[in-house]
Amino acid sequence: MDTFAVRTEGLTKIYKDFWRRKSVSALTNLNVTIERGEIFGLLGPNGSGKTTTVKLLLGLLFPTSGKASVLGRPASDLMVKSKIGFLPEESYLYKFLNAEEILDFYARLFHIPREERRRRIDKLIGDVGLQPHRKRPLSQYSKGMQRRIGLAQAIINDPELVILDEPTSGLDPMGSCEIKELILRFKEQGKTVLLSSHLLADVQTICDRIAILNKGVLQVMGNVRDLLSKRDVIEFLVKSLPEDAIREVESFIKRNDGEVLSVKHPVSTLEELFVKVIQDSK
């Protein structure tokens, strides 16, 4: 069994115009490996080639050159799609269906038996918090609700690889937080997650490794902690230290040729504050 969940070798995509002339080079010579069980972040500004990479992995686009394999098989292989869950950038859903019907439709495409289908649908609708709205047509759903049902359909088949394109887009901070918790649960369950996003804070908190693309070219790839750590700076987080002790630590550092850059109380993120306030108010 291939230890890599995703592997691309020299993956290149050039968009051509109607006359088959080269129009845009969307992805150039991408070499990326994603190991099984990790959360991998694909970062980059708009038009950097993130979505093109995802579409190539799903067989929605065909590479101009190079190859992509998913779970040990070519990306275009139909068999491999039964082990993939995909949440597109926007929740492109059939608006004439309700939550139950859409999950049932997608579950049928995976040949999931009736009883198992019902069990999974009930569980997923509960997990994404749409139990009271399960019979409402999706056309009446808010963007956040559509995102949640989109996520539910992406995991209806209990996939080995979950590809999430901007999963928190359109969600409020609470929803966003829930999604991030869900992604971390996927990791606990041994699933591989490919997260394409330009929300850096989201990626930083949950991804093991990242790759940054710009103009279709891989700029950097590696472990998040390694890439972000400042080797020449040391940070202590200490609880309840008296003023005298602080001054003593500062002088100790200076005596040992160190330089104190700042001494301050750390601040939490706005997201952490928001979640706390909302949770306390319940």
């Binding site: 968009y15 799903l58 929605l60 799609k81 597109p88 059939y94 997608y106 049928r108």
Partner: protein, 426 residues
């Protein structure tokens, strides 16, 4: 998998307002069809109900089916719901087949629901039909005369019609054979006489005729006197006893009085085996209409794998319309060919072919020839002609149309598969 996509396609279509609108409109049109003014013929109203259903209501439904089937895939691509579908383990071919199956199921539903309502309207109108005109709500097998012969003197012959005069001077005899054992003394036969009548005393006066039906094997014979009017077909029932022990019968006709004339051709008299199987025949007509729908669905879905919704809808309509005027296209093509043939006998240096005809040749004739060779001929699916004459639709016709539809749908599917397989979704 195909079934899942077909059910999904069907469910999506059935929830669209256009389908409700078309079915509602179809029902309203059928409800008013018995009240549309017609001629005084007793069966004219029933004929009108048939025409309204098979021409107007069916056309409305086909418009709806074209709008839905030709726009389904392009809408999925535009709304990007196709991403969700293609990221699942579903082959593109199965998506296309599922779409065709879904819209075919919708077509079946429309044809069956509207067809049943129309059957009820026909039944109500048929209850008021006089016995002589009830042939329209029967399923009759048609037999053509194998031979026409004359006994006695022919009065004259004009424009392929042979005339006999009354007063026992001449008799026209139509010979029918190959009736099989269908008569066998049980099932009734009837003869339909569409004779040319001339009367020296005026066209409007009825001419008394003697019609004799004879079994050539047993010699059994029955004679009856009928009154014939110009351009009014006569139906003469044949005693089933006469047809026993034989698969042949002769029908002889002659005017009783002198100065009355009957013009005869081989096709003037036809024999019909009358079977009370109208419901079955009507079901066959509905099945043929359904096959027509399936064919247009296959064409609509094929185009939708490559074209945008508006272009594909327009293209499917063009194919549908051209499919109804192929005969005209063929005739027109032959006409141009014919005019060229005449030009060839004129030496080139004396008179060159007219530039217009040369242009017409390349711009019209050749495309028309290609079109008529490629496009499906929707006129073949015309079951209305059978129903209007009360003729049983032969199984051969149903089988041929089934094969024709399967062949065209198969070709459409192969092209769809090729186009859709290579399509990228940006």
């Amino acid at each position: 998998m195909i079934l899942t996509i077909a059910k999904h396609t069907f469910r999506e279509a059935i929830r669209k307002k256009i389908v409700h609108l078309l079915i509602g409109l179809g029902i309203i049109i059928m409800a008013i069809s018995p009240y549309i003014p017609t001629t005084d013929e007793p069966d004219a109203k029933v004929k009108m109900i048939f025409v309204v259903f098979f021409q107007v209501v069916a056309l409305l439904c086909i418009i709806g089916i074209i709008l839905l089937s030709a726009s389904s895939l392009p809408n999925e691509i535009e709304d990007k719901t196709i991403y969700g579908l293609l990221s699942k383990p579903v082959s593109r071919l199965k998506i296309v087949v599922g779409k065709i199956a879904g819209f075919s199921a919708l077509s079946a539903l429309m044809v069956v629901v509207l067809g049943l309502i129309n059957a009820a309207v026909i039944h109500r109108a048929a209850l008021r039909l006089p016995q002589d005109y009830s042939g329209i709500v029967k399923a009759r097998s048609e037999f053509w005369a194998s031979q026409l012969s004359f006994q006695g003197d022919l009065h004259h012959s004009r424009q392929g019609i042979q005339w006999i005069e009354g007063g026992s001077t001449g008799v026209a005899v139509w010979h029918f054979s190959g009736l099989g054992n269908k008569g066998n003394g049980r099932l009734p036969f009837e003869a339909e006489l569409a004779l040319k009548i001339e009367n020296s005393r005026g066209l409007d006066e009825a001419v008394p005729l003697t019609v004799r039906v004879e079994n050539p094997a047993t010699g059994l014979c029955k004679e009856q006197i009928v009154s014939a009017l110009e351009d009014v077909p006569l139906t003469v029932r044949i005693d089933p006893q006469i047809l026993q022990k034989s698969d042949a019968v002769n029908v002889s006709v002659f005017p009783i009085d002198k100065a009355h004339y009957v013009g005869a051709t081989q096709g003037n008299v036809k024999l019909y085996l009358v079977q009370e199987r109208f419901a079955f025949n009507y079901a066959k007509a509905l099945a043929i209409t359904f096959l027509k729908f399936v064919l247009i669905v296959a064409i609509g879905v094929m185009g939708s794998t490559y074209l945008s919704a508006p272009v594909n809808i327009a293209a499917t309509f063009v194919v549908f319309l051209c499919g109804h005027v192929l005969d005209f296209a063929k005739d027109f093509s032959l006409l141009i060919q014919h005019s060229h043939a005449h030009e060839e006998v004129i030496p080139g240096d004396v008179e060159r072919p007219h530039a217009f005809l040369v242009v017409l040749d390349y711009l019209v004739r050749k495309p028309l020839e290609w079109l008529s060779a490629i496009l499906p001929d929707f006129k073949k699916f015309d079951s209305l002609e059978f129903l209007l004459k009360g003729i049983d639709i032969p199984w051969e016709t149903v089988g041929f149309l089934f094969g024709y539809t399967a062949l065209y749908a198969g070709v459409c599917l192969a092209i769809s598969s090729l186009l859709f397989k290579k399509r990228e979704f940006f």
